[in-house]
């Protein structure tokens, strides 16, 4: 799904239309979504997957700005939030006045209100890109977030507003009482939004968004106003963020000021960047990984945010293409049929590296336990092993893992680099 890969298809077979091989990733993804609730049927698993899907739509919408349009926003949560709040009001009105509106179309309304807000704000914020845009988005985000506690009529103050999705008209007999029914509804919207967002990136405006991102001035001399291109991207992004808000309203049946806050805006930036802004499917990976970290890691350790922060900083420093970028780095090797060359060096480097990370984590956890747990409470459990946190052996094991892993990874790194080089060069070609 990289651009070059796309173009390859066009150049060799112009206007080739839809082929099975290009549809494959979509079909696999849809099948995957269909069987997930069968594999993981517990309500909490479904709740976590619902959260993932909401985050996926939101992250993809955000990447329409950051990755495709080159606009860094620090306040994008407001479009999702406002879309969600409007949906919540609609749910309440449906409940109060008995309006015949089936629940499944609700996210569309969220999208329309997100679009409406984006049209208003975008009319002045997209005039410039870069820092001006970023700062206006920060200011607007802060203002609307502040409104959430001031304008109680609409935002419901601190406790937010809640409603009951089951009061809407049943949709072909489905009342959306069960999480599983909600799951399939959200899955439908996730697939639909993802396809639409993908197609948007293939339209003239979507293509020009890339052009404006790379070189706004040149785009102007191709007949396109950079400002209007940004505006259209911004509105589209607001629309899909609003859809994510509608999905949120259906899933959680409550919206609070938290959804508008800068913390949410910052989180979506983190998620999108972690997944990879350069590729269409990057934010999907980011959303999945981050939701897992947030809900699962936080059950395991108190200092999970420290790990997430470190992971994020490391990603910016060493993998600016994000997780998707790391995956795509292997495409040339796969094309050359030389991926197998990498397997052994990978194992020899990554296993010690993982050990090193585990060692560091062990030391951090023990240190944290020693500093912050109740004195006398020396017993701690880590990786299903319970031990005494004041026992030097535990420290030693952590240190050995960390240093030994680091040393081994360091030793085998040149081999990996070498193998990498070989895997990415044509046979017989000059190095």
């Amino acid at each position: 799904m990289t651009q070059t890969a796309q173009e390859r298809a066009h150049v060799s077979a112009p206007a080739s239309g839809i082929t099975l091989s290009r549809l494959m990733p979509w079909i696999i993804a849809i099948l995957f979504l269909l069987i997930m609730p069968i594999l993981f049927g517990s309500n909490s698993a479904i709740t976590i997957m619902n959260q993932m899907m909401i985050t996926i739509v939101f992250a993809l919408a955000y990447n329409m700005l950051l990755g495709q349009g080159g606009m860094l926003s620090f306040g994008h949560a407001v479009y999702m939030g406002v879309g969600g709040f409007m949906c919540m009001h609609i749910i309440r009105m449906v409940e109060k006045y008995g309006i015949p509106l089936p629940l499944p179309v609700l996210p569309l309304f969220g999208g329309l209100f997100g679009l409406g807000l984006a049209m208003i704000i975008g009319s002045f914020s997209t005039r410039k890109a870069g820092t001006v845009f970023a700062m206006i988005s920060l200011g607007i985000g802060e203002l609307i977030a502040a409104c959430s506690v001031i304008i109680v009529v609409f935002f419901g103050g601190e406790e937010g507003i809640s409603g009951d999705r089951t009061y809407g008209l049943p949709f072909f007999g489905i009342e959306f009482l069960q999480q599983k029914e909600v799951y399939y509804l959200l899955a439908f919207w996730t697939v639909l939004s993802t396809i639409l967002m993908y197609l948007f990136s293939r339209t003239p405006v979507g293509r020009m968004a890339n052009a404006v991102r790379d070189n706004p001035e040149r785009a102007e001399f191709l007949g396109y106003s950079a400002r209007w291109v940004r505006y259209f991207s911004f509105c589209a992004s607001g629309f899909f963020a609003g859809i994510a808000g509608g999905m949120f309203a259906i899933n959680y049946e409550i919206l609070t000021g938290e959804q508008l806050s800068l913390i949410q805006s910052g989180a979506i930036l983190l998620i999108t960047f972690l997944g990879g802004v350069g590729l269409f499917f990057g934010p999907i990976i980011g959303a999945i990984v981050f939701t897992l970290l947030q809900t699962v890691l936080s059950l395991q350790t108190e200092i999970w945010q420290l790990y997430v922060g470190a992971l994020f900083v490391a990603a910016v420093m060493f993998f600016p293409g994000g997780l998707a970028g790391v995956l795509m780095m292997h495409v040339p090797a796969i094309r050359l049929g030389k991926l197998h060359l990498l397997i052994v060096p990978y194992i020899r480097t990554l296993v010690p590296a993982v050990l090193c990370i585990i060692g560091v984590a062990v030391i951090l956890e023990i240190l944290f336990h020693v500093r912050h747990s109740a004195p006398g409470d020396n017993e701690m459990t880590l990786f299903w092993i319970t031990f005494d946190s004041h026992n030097p052996v535990a420290w030693a094991i952590g240190a050995v893992l960390a240093l030994g892993g680091f040393w081994l990874a360091r030793m085998s790194a040149p081999d990996l680099r070498d193998a990498w080089h070989r895997a990415n060069t044509l046979d017989g070609g000059a190095a």
Binding site: S42, S44, E253, T295, L299, Q305, T381, I385, V393
Partner: protein, 414 residues
């Protein structure tokens, strides 16, 4: 090697958090409160008090109903309503029957709403919600439901207590009301205004305002305004950094009258006020520590301090919650049927070691108990907070506060 290896099978892949079979011998209580992020200290302190109370009151006595023990587990909601709902779902799936939560009325609203819906939609896995500290009056009024029980006095009852004390202090002629700009701050302001008007019509409210929550860097301008207004006393519902900032700014800028508060003790705040807040800061709370009402409290507190030397028992209501719940289970004769337990709690009375009788009002599930107004000081403090030498001493007591307070609650019972 002193490793006691114990391989847990669970949680290898969290997506497959399987619904562990509910053990008849164990009552699982899910504590959903912030355990990371800015409010984590309050949350983890509360969790410790819950675990300690469960051990002391139930488990060390061999359990209730002939062997049912309590198990309290923390679920980190990161102070977020959204995350709370996810954790609620996880807890229900894992067979937790009782949810306890206290920090933030916003989260409490989200939880009580979600629990009501869940119990209606899934009669097989119903849960109870024991709210130990979220004080928004709406939770036991318009937004009440059968599954929610509150073990803290609500904001109106607390204000009733504070104004009873102010009523008797003839030195107070002018009062300044300041709070955070959200539902709780507004509730405090509304209650203070109406109750002062009723109890002491001669008192002039010289200021009544709200400031943005968690956004004020420097409270000096507010303190200036309060000093200039000539107020004799300040009433505030502020908590956390906003409480500390306001209190310190008031003292630093020359205010010396009483500051009546809801949350100005423990979690580092007592230590940070130190000498500056002495005799100025007053707060309304349940449960008496200084002077200790009886030997049981002394023993309980000492045992707690032995386990958590850096901790405080700043929430006796947590002890009350666990004690009340265990008594209700005994009364209902079952630890599985939450409807029976809930019905047993309605109207039930129970004596707490903190020198008070607890009564769970049946019509709105609001606990009624003795309330105290405490003063921040270092004199006569048996049990200090934050190991600072400072603590809170009971100044006055209102018996069974809010016994006849009205409620608008209309509850559907299962």
């Amino acid at each position: 090697m002193s490793f006691k290896t114990k391989f847990g099978v669970a949680a290898a892949l969290a997506l497959s958090v399987s619904a562990t079979a509910v053990c008849a011998e164990e009552m699982k209580i899910a504590f959903i409160d912030p355990l990371s992020g800015p409010f984590a200290s309050t949350g983890s302190n509360g969790l410790h008090q819950f675990e300690f109370a469960a051990d002391k009151l139930v488990n060390e006595k061999g359990g209730i109903l002939g062997g049912t023990t309590f198990k309290v587990d923390g679920f980190d909601n990161k102070a977020s309503p959204q995350e709370s709902l996810i954790q609620l779902q996880v807890a229900i799936d894992q067979g937790y029957k009782v949810i306890v939560q206290g920090n933030s009325s916003g989260v409490a609203h989200a939880l009580t709403d979600a629990i009501e819906k869940h119990n209606k939609r899934n009669p097989d896995s119903r849960v109870l919600f024991l709210n130990y500290a979220a004080v928004d009056p709406a939770l036991t009024n318009d937004d009440c439901n059968f599954w929610h029980f509150r073990f803290d006095a609500n904001a109106d009852i607390k204000m009733d207590v504070l104004t009873d004390v102010i009523k008797d202090n003839q030195d107070i002629k002018k009062v300044y009301i300041i709070g955070q700009d959200y539902s709780f701050g507004k509730a405090v302001s509304a209650a203070a205004n109406s109750m002062l008007k009723e109890k002491r019509p001669d008192i002039e409210v010289v200021g009544d305002e709200l400031h943005p929550i968690g956004k004020v860097k420097d409270f000096t301008p507010y303190a200036r305004k309060i000093v200039s207004s000539g107020a004799d006393a300040v009433i505030t519902g502020n908590w956390g950094a906003d409480m500390l900032g306001l209190g310190k700014a008031l003292v630093a800028n020359g205010f010396s009258g009483p500051v009546y508060t809801y949350y100005a003790a423990g979690s580092g705040i007592t230590a940070a006020f130190g000498e500056a807040g002495k005799g100025v800061i007053r707060l309304v709370a349940e449960g008496q520590l200084n002077p200790p009402p009886n030997d049981q409290v002394v023993e309980y507190y000492k045992a707690y301090k032995a386990k958590y030397p850096d901790g405080n028992i700043d929430q006796p209501r947590i002890y009350n919650t666990i004690g009340f719940l265990s008594a209700a289970i005994e009364k209902a004769g079952t630890a599985d049927d939450v409807v029976s337990i809930g019905k047993a709690m309605e109207g039930m009375e129970w004596d707490s070691i903190f020198g008070t009788k607890l009564m769970m009002r049946a019509e709105d599930h609001q606990v009624i108990q003795n309330m105290h107004v405490l003063v921040h000081t270092n004199e006569g403090v048996t049990f200090d907070y934050d190991n600072s030498g400072f603590g809170t001493v009971t100044e006055s007591t209102i018996d069974m506060a809010g016994m006849d307070s009205p409620t608008t609650c209309k509850m559907d019972r299962p």
